[in-house]
């Protein structure tokens, strides 16, 4: 069992030094990035036996042992469990896995043991299947298909350990091919998961496993069709109820459930379940923890899917019901604090936070007003030097504020937005320059004093230079601003 509060370095062996570990992580990270770009980002989880954790010097049996063990199992007898244990260990070896599935009747045997009357054999059989499911070869996962109807049936059983293994096994084989997914859906995996979660709702390990299986199921390109049945089974509200992290158990189940809620197509259903308020307030408390520096629990792992969830929910919520949906949860200040807190530790999460802020402020005058009255603008201005899309998103938020009212523009000018703009207008990134011109236009149009202030800060020469920019749209805007609004005043 993995838990966040235990340090586990199971990534393929035992790294001897910190440097090796770092290099390995970096390589892995690069591979994951490329996989995502290829739309093939898939991960599997391996549940290890607790009593095996101490076996670090264990010799992994080779392929030959697999064949031997299989033959011994095949020939019957009452000592099956004695052979199943070593078999499951042997099946950790990738080539042993391939050998095994090619043996005639091997899967048939396993399924038989899985469904037999010996409970201990069942457990060991499912362990073997679990090891097989962790393989990266799609042929191995497909070979496990005969077992799936039984695995699904067992989800409504009572044995927690066994259920957990079934869930992770199913979750592992899900993403391997569309055929497998379709088969599982036809066999009713979603109602089974919903039922399982309901039955085992007090066992957070099982809940975590079910959340993982659901996440894996929804990873496909056409996840939309799969999401809808989950709604009919009542999963959204169930998963929402798991979202609050358990102080003893840790964040892991909440993390899995939060990723489910991040699916955009669930938004309408989630909103109806009051998700905006719940996820919003959770985000506030977690964000507070992050801002205070309490990140040793890995709380960012939960913040990330929650940001997705809230960002998506905000984009689907009609503006007029936004504040009633939020139910008094004030997101403006916590989100700003979160952006500032994350900017140096996890800048990409900071960018996502800014995205959520944009969706919050786009059509809400109250939120924009709060930004001003709570004196959050100077902190946002401090974020404008940072690139990789952070400053563009933050400036977009400020643009949302400026767009609402002329008084807001005047206040923004007093808080220093104009001088920030004279800097952002000089940046190399065309996106930020274009957006800066838009904001500048709104500011100048709202008050003649702002135009004067801009000129006195040396803004004219910047605009003049921009008239020579290679982008025609940028040139047009600069010229228009100069001719129609600044130079006319004189």
């Amino acid at each position: 069992m993995w838990r966040l509060n235990k340090v586990r370095h199971k990534a393929g062996g035992h790294a001897n030094s910190l440097e090796e570990l770092r290099t390995k992580r970096r390589e892995k990270e690069r591979a994951l990035r490329q996989a995502r770009r290829d739309r093939q980002l898939v991960s599997k989880r391996l549940l290890r036996n607790e009593d095996e954790e101490q076996d670090t010097m264990e010799v992994t049996p080779g392929e030959q042992d697999v064949v031997t063990l299989f033959q011994k199992l095949h020939h019957g007898g009452t000592e099956k469990e004695a052979f199943l244990r070593p078999l499951s260990k042997a099946l950790r070896n990738p080539s042993a896995q391939l050998t095994f599935i090619k043996l005639e009747n091997s899967m048939h045997l396993l399924v038989g043991l899985l469904t037999g009357s010996d409970a201990r054999c069942r457990l060991q059989a499912v362990r073997c299947l679990h090891e097989l499911s962790h393989s990266t070869h799609t042929s191995v996962a497909s070979a496990c298909l005969p077992a799936t109807p039984y695995l699904l049936t067992y989800l409504s059983g009572q044995s927690t350990k066994f259920t957990e293994l079934c869930l992770y096994t199913l979750g592992n084989i899900c993403p391997d091919s569309e055929t497998v997914k379709e088969r599982l859906l036809a066999q009713g995996i979603i109602p089974a998961l919903a039922g399982c979660m309901q039955n085992h709702r007090h066992n957070l390990a099982v809940v975590e496993a079910a959340g993982f299986a659901l996440f894996q199921l929804l990873q496909s390109k056409d996840a939309v069709q799969k999401v809808i049945p989950s709604v009919r089974s009542g999963l959204p509200s169930q998963l929402l109820s798991v979202l609050t992290p358990d102080p003893d158990f840790g964040l892991a189940p909440a993390i899995e459930c939060a990723w489910y809620t991040g699916f955009f197509h669930l938004c309408t259903f989630l909103i109806n379940c009051g998700a905006l308020r719940q996820c919003g307030s959770l985000l506030v408390s977690l964000g507070g923890a992050v801002a205070d520096g309490n990140t040793d629990q890995g709380v960012e792992l939960l913040v990330c899917p929650l940001l997705r969830c809230v960002g998506n929910l905000l984009s689907s919520c009609p503006a007029e019901t936004l504040h009633s949906q939020l139910g008094g949860v004030d997101l403006v200040a916590p989100l700003c604090e979160l952006v500032v807190a994350l900017i140096h530790t996890l800048p990409t999460l900071a960018r996502e936070t800014a995205w959520v802020l944009n969706n919050l402020t786009a059509h809400s005058t109250e939120s924009c007003s709060a930004l001003l009255t709570l004196n959050l603008v100077p902190r946002l201005l401090e974020l404008l030097p940072f690139s990789q899309g952070i400053n563009t998103m933050v400036l977009r938020v400020l643009a949302n504020v400026a767009h609402k009212k002329k008084e807001f523009c005047i206040q923004l000018a007093e808080l220093g937005l104009l001088s920030a703009l004279t800097a952002t207008l000089k940046m190399a990134d065309q996106d930020i320059v274009t957006l800066s011109l838009e904001v500048l236009f709104m500011m100048i149009v709202s008050s003649p004093q702002i135009a004067e202030q801009f000129v006195s800060q040396g803004g004219l020469s910047v605009l003049e230079a921009i008239q020579y920019n290679s982008d025609g749209e940028v040139r047009r805007r600069a010229t228009y601003l100069l001719e129609q609004h600044i130079l006319r005043e004189k």
């Binding site: 966040l4 992580r25 970096r26 892995k28 990270e29 994951l32 990035r33 995502r36 770009r37 980002l41 989880r45 955009f264 990140t295 040793d296 890995g298 960012e300 792992l301 990330c304 940001l307 997705r308 984009s315 009609p318 140096h344 530790t345 800048p347 990409t348 999460l349 960018r351 996502e352 995205w355 969706n359 402020t361 786009a362 059509h363 809400s364 005058t365 940072f386 990789q388 400053n391 563009t392 643009a399 767009h403 609402k404 009212k405 002329k406 000089k426 190399a428 990134d429 996106d431 957006l435 904001v439 709104m442 020469s461 230079a465 020579y468 920019n469 047009r476 805007r477 129609q484 004189k490």
Partner: protein
């Protein structure tokens, strides 16, 4: 950053005043009334597809955790994300089209712009160090009236401000500068204007290569001329724009045509550090209302 194909924008801001009286919506009204207003910003809810680039790092973060590669900061002094994801600060970039200089600080940007893109002659695109020298340049080089008058009277003004003496020829002025004002004989900003060479047919290619060579960050030490080349398609037929030699180093006005053919010799002599070109789109040139910047309207096509 926001990839159009993955970005669904719902411009709900439009003409709906959803927040009732509070949102004044004055902008839409004002914008529609002003003709030719290019500004289009409206607050927008950003609905991002889950494969969107914005979410890439978060997803990778998630999968690192699934594959047990996550470590929180407190353990082993390894931060959760490797260094290549660390924060980066925006660079500043010179706006002038074709000038590719980038800078890491505002000061560098300002210095670059003020040194090299100010006081530029509209006609021949040369950059002069001060407004006064620009005026003198325009007068002496691009004013046909000056040429006529110079045949009969002293027109060449001493370059030292406050001296006020005028001379019949530029050589005489030069002598004056050397004798009286102790100027060096090869002072950059007093060159005789010679006959222009023929235009080169293969302007474009040469320009492009020199552009590439000049990709370094500009520190603009010493003043060097910024020579403009006609690069964009729009400007190819612009007869008022003179095509110049590819010699970025040609601080010497006089060997204008010579430098067109022999850039190598000039390189040795002057060793400027950087070179760049900028292109002025033909539709844009500063008018009379402009406070500072480019002067000289001769030959400019409106």
């Amino acid at each position: 950053m926001l990839q159009p194909d993955l970005l669904q924008l719902m411009a709900m801001g439009g003409s709906q005043t959803r927040n009732g009286d509070e949102e004044e919506g004055f902008r839409e009204a004002a914008e529609q009334q002003e003709e030719g207003n290019p500004f289009t910003f409206n607050p927008q809810l950003l609905r991002l597809h889950r494969d969107h680039e914005l979410f890439e790092d978060g997803d990778v973060f998630r999968h690192m955790y699934l594959q047990d590669l996550f470590m929180s900061e407190a353990e082993d002094d390894i931060s959760p994300l490797p260094p290549d994801l660390f924060l980066s600060v925006s660079e500043f970039g010179c706006h002038i089209s074709g000038c590719r200089a980038v800078f890491s600080t505002l000061d560098e940007y300002e210095h670059h712009y003020n040194s090299l893109h100010r006081h530029v002659c509209c006609s021949c695109r040369r950059s002069l160090p001060s407004a006064r020298l620009l005026d003198i340049h325009i007068q002496e080089w691009h004013d046909s009236l000056f040429t006529i008058l110079a045949q009969k009277q002293d027109m060449y003004l001493c370059l030292v401000e406050g001296c006020g003496q005028k001379f019949r020829t530029s050589q005489q002025r030069k002598d004056h500068l050397i004798r009286l004002h102790k100027y060096p004989p090869d002072f950059r900003f007093d060159k005789n204007r010679k006959e222009k060479g023929t235009r080169e047919a293969s302007r474009e290619q040469r320009t492009n290569t020199t552009m590439e060579a000049a990709d370094d960050v500009c520190r603009s030490e010493g003043v060097c001329e910024v020579m403009c080349s006609v690069e964009s398609n729009q400007l190819e037929q612009e007869e008022s724009m003179e095509t110049h030699a590819s010699s970025e180093e040609a601080a010497q006005f006089e060997d204008f045509s010579a430098s067109a053919q022999t850039p190598e010799t000039n390189t040795e002599q002057l060793k400027p550090k950087y070179s760049y070109r900028f292109v002025v789109p033909k539709t844009v040139c500063f008018g009379h209302g402009s406070v500072r910047g480019f002067r000289g309207q001769r030959g400019r096509r409106k």
